[in-house]
């Protein structure tokens, strides 16, 4: 059975104790977002997730979306839940107040997102895409477009999509064919086919706003000839209501491994009316605003699913009795001991827990940078934050989603055969989590982005935002033996970074061969750093903790587990990286 209650204590720990939310909100000019306010928002969001979204998760998966004659119906209960979602203002949390948003910091927004992903990933996709689309529109759209669309999208009346993929172009968007023809009135006519469009058609909102990538007639070949257009399902009337149907139709929905309550559509644009967003041929720039935000959100999807998997597995491990503890019966009065007594079950639970809490702490760190890059007063701080987001985006996206799948599979294993059958909902988590490794840039591409683009940029400047604070922390705590494992793995990461930077100058394939291992290594060290800091905070708080001693003690223990059992993987990864591409690339293509 899927068990989920928002991990509020841990979220508060991450926000207030680890990342000092009070200092953070002061720096971004929002001192009124006090700890109490944040806590009450998290609490309400937690209730919404558990009470409204979680119950629809398994049923939505069972029922799926239905397609009939161009219309897509979401599973039972989604329309009502979405209505409550909008009424609660959950979609407008971190949006710009100028267009009706609440303007709350991303550090709060990302925690709420995590809860929604934990409770119901399919549902979360609808408002999630809308949020991404508002960011792109806000960053690059004309005032006219912004006024006409943003308020309705932010309050959830209208939803958004991003239309990139076409049958012949996935990762390589330079192959795009959809075309846009300029009209005398300044609008464009968009024609072409798009596939894999999440939330491209559904019955939750009165209108759907597509952000579509297409080519202008005189566009240069390849990725430098792609522009972004806003194409609404219904053309708004003068008073802003949905008017005439635009030339975009849903021709089918995909039948997928998981995420069944989310409509993945094929869209056909036939001379659909659209407007340019951003500059001609600079569509990728506009899209990247959205994609960077989306990639972090997708990372959080992985984290969210893993949290539910953890809670469900922990519940089952304490509930299910089977066999006896290896060192002798722990519950002699019962027919058998609960399986949580077994080291291997413990291994699974501790592993999931250590990763999940580490990822939450890391997403909190990245979220502070999301706030700082737009809201810090000092332009130097803004630039530093932007650099940091640039380097951490591929790490968070790929690491969190790889873990989301690995950990939910590990949680399923705790259930044994009961995990494999549908009744307990564990196999749904595995299926749902799998897509996160693929969409918004497959994880292999994230790794390439990290080593090929982000690492060498400005002679490694993006790396600074990560490496400097970690090095400083290690230097400050050189006397603390608990920091040693981090120091060791960090030194290996430095070596691996310098190694890849050097070898890839001569042979880009070496960078490609090292990329995935390097990203994981980077991610492990990042989590190791979060855990080392968390342990430090916990150790400081423990002596004076009243009712919270158990929480801090568990933090310290889990930190130790991470350092003992998970962080050492960095050594193996560094060995793999050093081995280079030779054996990977040696076989002739025909030998496969």
């Amino acid at each position: 059975m899927q068990v989920y209650k928002a991990p509020l204590r841990d979220m508060r720990f991450v926000l207030h104790e680890l990342h000092n939310s009070a200092a953070h909100v002061a720096e971004i000019g929002q001192p009124d977002v006090a700890e109490e306010l944040i806590d009450s928002i998290l609490e309400e969001a937690g209730k919404f997730a558990t009470d409204i979204l979680l119950p629809l998760n398994a049923s939505g998966d069972e029922e799926g979306c239905r397609y009939e004659n161009g219309v897509v119906r979401t599973p039972k209960g989604f329309i009502e839940a979405y209505k409550k979602f909008c009424e609660g203002g959950w979609g407008a949390l971190a949006s710009d107040p100028a267009y009706g948003g609440q303007g709350l910091p991303e550090i709060v927004g990302k925690m709420v997102e995590e809860m929604q992903c934990s409770a119901n990933l399919s549902f979360g996709l609808y408002p999630g895409l809308t949020h991404g689309a508002t960011l792109a529109l806000q960053g690059h759209g004309t005032d006219e477009l912004k006024q006409a669309y943003l308020p309705k999208m932010i309050d959830g009346t209208w939803s958004g999509t991003m239309c990139l993929t076409e049958p012949q172009c996935g990762t390589d968007l330079g192959l795009m064919r959809t075309k846009a023809v300029p009209q005398e009135d300044g609008s464009y006519r968009i024609s072409g086919a798009k596939i894999f469009i999440s939330a491209g058609e559904h019955d939750l909102t009165e209108n759907i706003v597509h952000l579509v990538l297409a080519r202008l007639p005189d566009a240069p070949k390849g990725i430098k000839g792609v522009s972004m257009f806003l194409v609404p399902k219904f053309l708004p009337t003068e008073d802003g209501r949905p008017g005439a149907r635009n030339g975009v139709t849903c021709t089918a929905i995909e039948h997928k491994m998981g995420l069944k309550a989310s409509a993945t559509t094929q869209l056909y644009f036939d001379e659909a009316v659209g407007w340019l967003v951003g500059e001609p041929n600079k569509g990728m720039r506009a899209m990247f605003t959205m994609m960077n935000a989306e990639r972090l959100s997708v990372g959080i999807q992985g984290l969210g699913v893993a949290e539910t998997a953890y809670q469900s597995a922990a519940f089952y491990a304490k509930d299910r009795i089977q066999g006896r503890a290896l060192a002798g019966a722990r519950y002699p009065d019962r027919a058998a001991d609960p399986i949580i007594v077994h080291p291997d079950v413990r291994r699974s639970l501790m592993t999931i827990r250590a990763y999940v809490e580490g990822c939450r702490a890391l997403s909190g760190w990245v979220a502070t940078a999301l706030d700082l890059e737009t809201k810090a007063a000092d332009p130097v701080r803004r630039q530093e934050a932007e650099d940091f987001v640039a380097i951490m985006t591929p790490v968070v996206k790929a690491l969190f989603t790889d873990l989301g799948f690995e950990l939910s599979s590990m949680a399923l294993q705790v259930y044994g055969g009961h995990g494999y059958i549908r009744d307990h909902g564990m196999e749904q988590l595995v299926r749902d989590a799998r897509i996160c490794m693929i969409y918004e840039g497959a994880n292999g591409i994230q790794a390439l982005d990290l080593v090929g683009r982000k690492m060498p940029a400005h002679m490694g400047r993006f790396l600074r935002g990560f490496f400097h604070p970690v090095q400083a922390f290690i230097e400050e705590n050189a006397a603390d033996p608990k920091v040693l494992p981090l120091a060791k793995s960090f030194a290996a990461l430095q070596q691996a970074t310098a190694h890849i930077a050097t070898v890839s100058l001569k042979d880009p394939e070496e960078a490609g061969a090292a990329a995935t291992d390097y990203l994981r290594m980077f991610g492990l060290v990042a989590l190791g750093y979060m855990w080392a800091r968390a342990a430090k905070v916990a150790a400081e708080k423990l002596p004076a903790a009243n009712g919270d001693a158990g929480f801090y003690q568990a933090k310290l223990t889990t930190a130790q587990f991470f350092a003992d059992r998970l962080l050492p993987q960095t050594s193996a990864l560094w060995s793999s990286i050093k081995a280079g591409k030779a054996s990977m690339m040696a076989l002739e293509d025909a030998a496969f």
Binding site: H458, R464, F467, Q471, T497, A498, A501
Partner: protein, 775 residues
Amino acid sequence: MAEMFTKVAVIGSGVMGCGIAAQIANAGVRVLLLDILPREGSNRRAVAEGAIAKALKTDPAPFMSAAAARLIEAGNIEDDLARVAECDWIVEVVVERLDIKQTLYRRLEAVRRPGTPISSNTSTIPLSQLTEGLPERFTRDFMITHFFNPPRYMRLMELVTGPHTDATLADKIALFCDVALGKSVVNCKDSPGFIANRLGVFWMTGAVTQTIEHGLTIEEADAVMGRPFGVPKTGVFGLMDLVGLDLMPHVNASMAGALPENDEFHAINRDIPIIGRLIETGYTGRKGKGGFYRLNKTGGKRVKETLDFATGEYRPERRAELPELVAAGRDLRALMSAPGRVGAYAWAVMGHTMAYAAKLIPEATDEIVAIDEAMRLGYNWKHGPFELIDMVGADWLIERLHAEGFAVPPMLQRAAGRSFYRVQNGIRQQLGQDGEYTDIVRPHGILMLEDIKLAAKPVLKNGSASVWDIGDGVLCFEFTSKSNSLDEQIMALLGKTIALVKKEYKALVIYNEGSNFSVGANLGLALFAANIAAWMQVESLIATGQEMMQKLKYAPFPVVSAPSGMALGGGCEFLLHSDAVQAHAETYAGLVECGVGLLPGWGGCKEMLGRWASDPKMPKGPMPAPAKVFEMVSTAKVAKSAAEAREMLVLRPSDRVTMNRYRLLADAKRRALELAADYKAPEPREIVLPGPSGRVALNQAVAGFAKLGMATTHDVVVSGELATVLTGGDTDIIDTVKEGKILDLERESFMRLLRTPGTLARIEHMLETGKPLRN
């Protein structure tokens, strides 16, 4: 060796005359610079004096030092002409008019010492005409010495002798120009335009007319003609803007008038009305309002614009995007064969220029190597035309000329089935007119690594450096890294080299044939290491460098550094730790680390302090030396010549200067062997430094500059660390400071600076833009 002249007369003080006079003065030889009387005013030397004053303000500077300018004495041809009798050589650089030149020659004939060589710098008048009607005692002493503009920097000198010219005299002038003035002397026949301009004008004219013909934009033409063919990236149009558009019609008319009717030049030379219009409206190039390119400053903005041949108007500069260039890569044959206008253009210009070069044998010279050298040094081509033909293949060129109905010059035909150059038994050979290959023989006393490499393997080698045996027990350490930047590998190989020389050799020379000796430490690596907080790695590189520099200095054998071009930062520190420096005159040395927010960390501070502290001209006390070094290092001062480096004490009085780039290695080797004869390693030096009170004084001075807006926020941080090092840190004024202590201070301050965001931003900015960041 060259018999040094004690005084040379230069008549005519225009840009070329004054430039030649300056270069002679740069060689330490007195000059009598004469010009006509001024039209007005009472100062009868005003014309030549004015020219010298102007030259002192010209950039790039014709003079290597202010002292050189003082070797020139100004005069006029009415009062002072008789004083040419004091001179060992008379150079005529007056206006290009035969009657004026001949009148001058006749007047000179009356006053000069008999047997004094006279030469003209003419570029357009044949020697036969210049000497027509003059007595044999004049023609025997007469020749053409054709320098290129600017004479200090252009290494080519074309020497033309007549049938009566005394060969001994010509050799004497050639040797003086070679050894004293640093020129590469190319012997030419008395034919129009000699070599470089004959071919250069043909090439430029073709490049312009064919651009119009094939409908290329100016940017496209320069992109095709520039980098791919190893021509300076200014390309043709950029070059014409530089030399002046107004010159082109004159030069072309003179060339057209002088060349026989069947010369190919006539086929490509035509009147280009738009150039006439540009000249008329003041668009004469960079000296005027602009040329083919201009900077439009209207409306407060600075917009780079380019002339559009189609409209005759200027439009914003557009970067050329030519897939043909990408596709061809380094394959010139592929470029010249590419379908479409780009390939057609490349062929039309370069194919015909190559053929024309072959035709200049035997018209302009008998040796292909003379033509290649003239184009390399006179037009800064990376490869001469015959080297280019070898790259595309003589057979291919012949075939294509045939196919298109063009004549194939006999010299080109001779290369059919083979190449113009080859290497035989480790010696480079050239194809002669008899169809035989002969060794290319360098003038006496020249030693080149380039030649040694043809016949030998390096004694030691890694990815960033090589070591060569240059004979007589001397090893040569060569940097081979990108821009000769200094890295771990160089230090590692240096360690091995020192051990090897100690065991088996007599001396070490540090030298290379790159355009710059070294631009300093590899900043890209340092920045990347800093960005990933690999502080230990950086610190160990600093420590290793310091250790190597100390080893170099105290090695039991002499070390001679022989720089040319830039020797900056770590490159300069190599010079400072050598027993002797044999510097090319065009050496630009300095400790520039502060420009990127760092300070000299390989002993540069230590050595400069030692030099200034022991300079007899300095006032007594511990403060003057640090103050002097602080002034130079904090402002990242670079010497603009070896002579200036001497003034900065980067070179010591005992260090020597070589004028000719080709002679540098031989001179350095000779110096190393001299030192090896009775070598004793130097004694470690201890100096007295002022300590904290001195630091406070230097910091106050910087604070004052900061207040005036002359020092930036980060300048204050950087110079604060520099002040700490130069004043000896916490040392007490009554103690002496050992070298090791200063090195520790250098290293600590360097590491502190590298951790500041201001320094990281400076390094990044320098690497990405090539310009210093003033943060």
